[in-house]
Symmetry: C2
Subunit: 242 residues, 2 copies
Amino acid sequence: MTFVFNERESCSKCPIRHRAVCARCDTDELELLDGMKSYQTIAAGEPIIWRGDELTHFSSVVAGIASLSRTLEDGRIQMVGLLLPSDFIGRPGRETVEFDVTAVSDVTLCRFERKPFENLVEDVPHISQRVMEMALDELNAAREWMVLLGRKTAREKIATFLDMVIRRDTTPLHGAGSHSLPLTREEIANFLGLTLETVSRQLSAMKKEKILTFSDRRNFTILDLDALQEATGDDTDNALIA
Amino acid sequence: MTFVFNERESCSKCPIRHRAVCARCDTDELELLDGMKSYQTIAAGEPIIWRGDELTHFSSVVAGIASLSRTLEDGRIQMVGLLLPSDFIGRPGRETVEFDVTAVSDVTLCRFERKPFENLVEDVPHISQRVMEMALDELNAAREWMVLLGRKTAREKIATFLDMVIRRDTTPLHGAGSHSLPLTREEIANFLGLTLETVSRQLSAMKKEKILTFSDRRNFTILDLDALQEATGDDTDNALIA
DNA sequence: CGCTATCTTGAATCCCTTCAAGTCGCGTGG
DNA sequence: CCACGCGACTTGAAGGGATTCAAGATAGCG
């Protein structure tokens, strides 16, 4: 990658140019954004913003992975979303943030100050249309996850999670069904509404059933994709829709 | 209510005029919608549209309550949202529907044909801006529900549900903390990711603890709001944000 | 007034959690 | 170089909260 995350770099060469909040913008509109943007990097494990904090900037994830989560009073944590490159942080029209945002890996953000960006949402239809599209996509994803959290067994949750990981894994490096888990066991547990022990046990069980193998703790290969998808509990015509 | 759901009625007098997808529209824009709309009523319990069906119309719920849900292959059902008056059905840019929509009570819809409405989304910024706002609001609600489904106990789920019902209950008729459950025990169970027996047991337990009383199966009065909110499991500063 | 859907309650079971112990892999410093 | 320490992970055993299976109770409606 030759793109360096620096204000002098042009948006037109940005790696997420065609998927982010700017996807629908034409050259003129892009120039507006170009003049407004600034980059920020956050180290893995560090918080990006806490629930209740005032939102000073909207941002797009340009590189890395962040998580959205909520902590209950006694410390239980539920992850409510993973933010991948091109995903958007912040909600035009609200001043505070509703969930904790944390860097899962090293993260680079492309940021816009709140007020100027909110003006763009008002004035540039290509922006509000794109935010609308992205919000509706995320809404669908959130609802799919609600089905998982509310009704699926531990085994089905793990199978669905792995299926999601391999569907999203677009790294050109992964040959012959080899993939990498983006999260630790504990993070997976908080994403799936389980304990880390249950996650570990289910992965071990699937290993024993030869559905997959691990080369180390993070990297695995699917040996039996049919069995994995069978184990998700989803309607078989799911693929037809997704 | 003097408004009759008939194409001849003007949008300007519509009961959901200021909360629905048309909320930001000015008089001219409203006239466009006025000429496009048609009403449809669905009886309680009847399906409105199934997952996978082609979406011929976008619609707003004008009266009544509908549910969004998904059924797994073995029949388990998870509700992923309740659609109240002013809520929107359909996703501009997609031709099929991702979840089953069912009338919980008798429902009246205000409908727009897909293509013409999608053109409006492109041409009228006030529409896309409003859909964006509504989608972001729903996204937040969905994520809050994910926390409930993934991490809360049966008791906390019931308490949160009741708290939501009494917060949303704006009927001027309810005096002194008397409210009505909009759903059967089984529907509540499918909303909360529980069984109907567990719902019944938790409600009975709260009755025994004098947190609430039932005048019949649907109508209840909160006797101890503090105890109810204590039982939701939410962070105490939740109210400050919501 | 009885029929049926809805709801309540009880008892047994089970899946996941909790608590606990131990393993693995890796970087650090003696 | 390797012992050490630590975080991440695995595995076992016991316990518990919700489900499942099974009767009954209640209320709404013809």
